[in-house]
């Protein structure tokens, strides 16, 4: 019970941090309004999915270095399939790309289980493979996205019964993020499978001895990670309208947000909410620094320093808690 409280406490304090940052943002830039919040959420979207992808695997006691490459591959695949195709064709592209992410993720897990090579090495190798595949699909940024897909994350959606003032603060992108994550995560968390994922992350041997199918659970965890990464790739294509074969900085960002979000890198602890709030915090910090007219390069230093400081602080707290 105390563990539960502590974990929720971490998420709650992260959320408080987010609110505080938000107030600071308003102080710096009083004109910061719902439109700016909407663009913040749009910028967060691919990061949030990358973080979700990383979180599932980290909870299962692994790590996935191929997240960013997977996003690049799914993004270019979607963009090149939709290039010059009809709007309706995109209805087929979306499930296809998601299935591709799921299968490629499962292949990651399968390779780890079958070869018994450490996950960090396997996903490093698949990072190269997926990157190469992305370059084969599109050798330069290009492709297109269907209009309705792009419209899916821009603007807001009127919710009956809510005044316009509040409704303006709920951008479509945020709703999309919440829906996609909830549809997958909440049933999973409540199922036996979700419990198994936590179990193998906590102690593989104990899980095995209590009858958890360790290999199968691990493969499923990586498959889910691939699925989330495919969502991230789609989000990239949706927000930019094209696909880029060179992966963005999503790997580092995902690992940072996972740690910041209170998920132990050893596995078995934490949830999905914390990392996603963490990713919002990290992006809002970046917005603030930009609003303060700080040199973007200095911004990178500050971001790195914050990340390191937070991680050190978190480690320090857990150390204290253990003593």
């Amino acid at each position: 019970m105390s563990h539960f409280l502590r974990r929720q406490g971490w998420v709650a304090s992260l959320f408080a941090l987010f609110v505080m940052l938000f107030i600071i943002t308003r102080l710096i830039q009083p004109a910061y309004g719902s439109g700016d919040f909407g663009s913040l959420v749009r910028a967060v979207l691919p990061y949030a999915f990358a973080v979700a992808a990383q979180t599932v695997v980290v909870i299962a006691g692994g790590i996935d270095l191929s997240v960013a490459a997977m996003m690049a591959l799914t993004s270019v695949t979607a963009a090149s399939m939709m290039n010059g195709a009809s709007e309706e064709y995109a209805l087929f592209v979306v499930p296809f790309v998601l299935a591709m992410g799921l299968v490629l993720g499962a292949v990651n897990g399968l390779l780890i289980v079958v070869t018994r090579v450490p996950d960090i090495v396997v996903t490093l190798a698949t990072l190269f493979v997926l990157q190469g595949a992305a370059l084969l699909v599109l050798d330069a940024p290009g492709g297109a996205a269907a209009e309705w897909l792009k419209a899916l994350i821009s603007g807001t959606v009127p919710i009956p019964g809510l005044p316009d003032g509040i409704d303006a603060w709920i951008p479509k992108a945020l709703l999309l993020l919440i829906i996609c994550i909830c549809i997958i995560w909440i049933p999973l968390r409540r199922s036996k499978l979700g419990l198994s994922i936590y179990a193998i992350g906590s102690s593989e041997l104990a899980a095995f001895r209590s009858g958890v199918p360790v290999a199968r659970t691990r493969i499923i965890a990586y498959a889910l990670s691939g699925l989330f990464a495919a969502f991230g790739g789609l989000a990239l294509t949706m927000s930019t309208g094209i696909g880029a074969p060179i992966p963005g900085p999503y790997l580092l960002a995902s690992v940072a947000a996972v740690v910041l979000g209170g998920v132990a890198l050893g596995g078995g602890k934490g949830g999905l909410l914390g990392p996603i709030v963490a990713v919002f915090v990290l992006r809002l910090v970046r917005t603030d620094l930009t609003l303060l007219a700080i040199d973007p390069n200095v911004t990178a230093i500050i971001e790195g320093a914050i990340m390191v400081a937070v991680v050190m602080f978190g480690a320090f707290i857990t150390m204290r808690g253990r003593q």
Binding site: I63, L111, T115, R116, V117, P118, I120, V121, V122, L124, A125, T126, L127, F128, V129, Q131, G132, A133, A134, L135, L136, V137, D139, P245, L252, V255, A256, V259, L265, D295, N297, V298, T299, A300, I301, I302, E303, G304, A305, M307, V308, V311, M312, A315, F316, M319
Partner: protein
């Protein structure tokens, strides 16, 4: 009894056991196979000049892989080596324009020591996961480098003659870089196998708790380790700039992931406690030859990366099979 046992074991099993006892042999065989394939694909390519070239390009990778080997022995990893190498190379190239080379050298090594120290304190004292810690410091380092670049944009850059000589020069067909690498490699091998510090690295990686209980100051070992790793990366940067001769802000970044791969192929366990530097050197050579092979096949960049990834995975898996099934 033992003689009958040996006689009754089939040849394949005995071969396997032989290889498992000497894990370097399968690696060397693989290296030779790769070279033979190269010779078949492009007859006459394997000559003195090619060998010298391969060694020249393998050395920076091998030193960085040395950083990975040592940190991996303790169960860690150092992903900041690429940034550190780039920083020291870039600072050297820009500072040497106005400064004495010795001063420029000291300035170039400063960020390496600093980043190593921060890594060491983060991992050793605060117990942050090494992956996160070194990724974070490499992010900070890259940011600093970008800010620094702005301040020296007017002064330009040049490659000191000495570094160019060391990086690309040949003496009687032997790369000069070996002058740096051979003593360095010997020192690393000696440190790992014959000194107390080296044994501590294995001990920490094998069972940290037991090591702690037997009176080892964990944080001191780890701090020293990460500083050494960073300094080695800094030196690699200087060597690499002499080889590439074009300072850029992402000079050594492409070497980071291959350096991890080289250490893993060389038989160092990423979970700590097992491995050594000689295997890593051969791992670096294998990766370098592999890159040449893939370049010669004239495939598109994408296909080359796919093959690279698959081969790294396959080699690691096969190697683990051989070594572990005793």
């Amino acid at each position: 009894m033992s003689t009958t046992a040996i006689q009754s074991v089939p040849l394949g099993r005995r071969l396997k056991r032989f290889m498992a006892d000497r894990p370097l042999i399968p690696l060397i065989i693989l290296l030779v196979i790769l070279v033979v394939i190269l010779q078949i694909l492009r007859p006459g390519i394997v000559n003195e000049r090619w060998i010298a070239n391969t060694i020249k390009f393998a050395i920076p990778l091998a030193i960085l892989a040395g950083c990975q080997t040592m940190t991996m022995l303790t169960g860690g990893i150092d992903l900041s080596v690429g940034t550190v190498a780039t920083m020291s190379a870039f600072i050297m190239a820009t500072q040497v324009v106005n400064q004495d080379p010795a001063v420029a050298f000291l300035l170039a090594m400063m960020p390496a020591v600093l980043i190593g120290l921060v890594n060491g304190i983060g991992v050793g004292v605060f117990r942050v996961h090494p992956l996160i810690m070194t990724l974070g410091t490499s992010l900070i380092g890259t940011g600093c480098l970008q800010v620094y670049q702005r301040t020296v944009i007017a002064s330009g850059a040049k490659i000191p003659d000495f570094l160019a000589w060391l990086g690309t020069g040949l003496t009687y067909g032997v790369p000069n870089a070996l002058l740096l690498f051979v003593p360095l490699a010997a020192l690393i091998v000696f440190t790992l196998s014959r000194t107390g510090f080296g044994r501590l690295l294995y001990a920490v990686g094998d069972n940290e708790h037991a090591t702690r209980l037997s009176g080892v100051r964990y944080w001191q070992v780890i701090s020293a380790l990460y500083v050494i790793s960073s300094v080695l990366a800094g030196i690699t940067g200087l060597l690499y700039i002499g080889l590439i001769k074009a300072p850029s802000l992402s000079l050594a970044e492409p070497l980071v992931l291959p350096s991890v791969a080289a250490a893993v192929i060389g038989g160092t366990s990423i979970f700590g406690g097992r491995g050594g530097y000689t295997g890593t050197i051969i791992g670096a050579l294998i990766l370098t030859v592999l890159t040449t092979l893939l370049t010669i096949l004239q495939m598109p960049e994408g296909a080359r990366r796919i093959l690279f990834g698959l081969i790294v995975l396959f080699v690691t898996a096969a190697y683990l099979r051989i070594v572990e099934e005793r």
